[in-house]
């Protein structure tokens, strides 16, 4: 049975590397099972101000010279990673669903999954390990 790891991102992007680290850690899970001989299922959840990571059209490459958090999220979606976004926080910050990142241009079959915090809470209970960023 796969070991489930939940990465919870609660901070906005760019001022610290923290949210991007969470995403790259989650991405690394896809290869971790080769080394620990156990299947690993990563899930990422954006809560609180962390939902600000999910806004599309980020231009960090142009202004900061770094790959955007958006590109990282798109890579995850294209890899079929489950990514949850807290509905209440989107509402609180007045971020409409059409502003959210998707990776359809990369052929992704799934989008960011907007869910109530109760669903995030259930994921916290279900997972084997949780990491909070």
């Amino acid at each position: 049975m796969a070991k489930s790891i939940l990465f919870v991102i609660s901070r906005p992007p760019y001022k610290s590397e923290n949210p991007k680290l969470a995403i790259t850690h989650a991405m690394a899970c896809f290869v971790a099972d080769m080394h620990i001989d156990e299947e690993v299922e990563p899930v990422v959840a954006f809560v609180g101000d962390g939902v600000l990571n999910c806004i599309k059209n980020q231009r960090s490459q142009e202004f900061y010279g770094i790959i955007s958090t958006e590109q990282h999220i798109k890579n995850q979606l294209a890899s079929d990673m489950r990514m949850l976004v807290c509905k209440e926080d989107l509402y609180r910050l007045d971020i409409k669903p059409e502003r959210l990142i998707n990776a359809r241009d990369m052929g992704a079959d799934i989008d960011l999954n907007v869910v109530g915090f109760n669903e995030v809470q259930k994921e916290m209970e279900r997972c084997d390990q949780m990491m909070w960023f």
Binding site: Y14, K15, S60, F63, Y64, R92
Partner: protein, 99 residues
């Protein structure tokens, strides 16, 4: 005194700003501080924008990096470049602090 205040977090730090005298105050939204100029939390403008007699500035590159356009910025806020910020620091403000 003409005081320039850099705000680089989107979390509420209104209480300190509330205590600062608004006259001659310049508030620079940089890094995650730019969310104050574009986000309407619970349908309301940021409390930081409520001070009277304040000049507000937001760094364009920090806004655009985060997926917003400069046209979405609150009308009270002046959109500025790095060069503008340097000019303002050198010419318009006697003291600068970072909240």
């Amino acid at each position: 005194m003409r005081l320039g205040v850099f705000v680089s977090d989107c979390q509420k730090n209104d209480s300190m700003l509330e205590r600062l005298n608004g006259e001659g105050l310049g508030i620079f939204f940089v890094e995650n501080g730019v969310y104050h100029a574009v986000i309407h939390e619970n349908g309301r403008d940021s409390g930081v924008l409520q001070k009277k007699g304040v000049n507000y500035y937001a760094l364009a590159s920090d806004i655009q990096t985060r997926g917003f356009t400069t046209s979405e910025i609150d009308s009270r806020v002046n959109v500025v470049t790095y060069e503008d910020v340097v000019d303002l620091m050198m010419n318009d403000y006697e003291k600068l602090i970072w909240l």
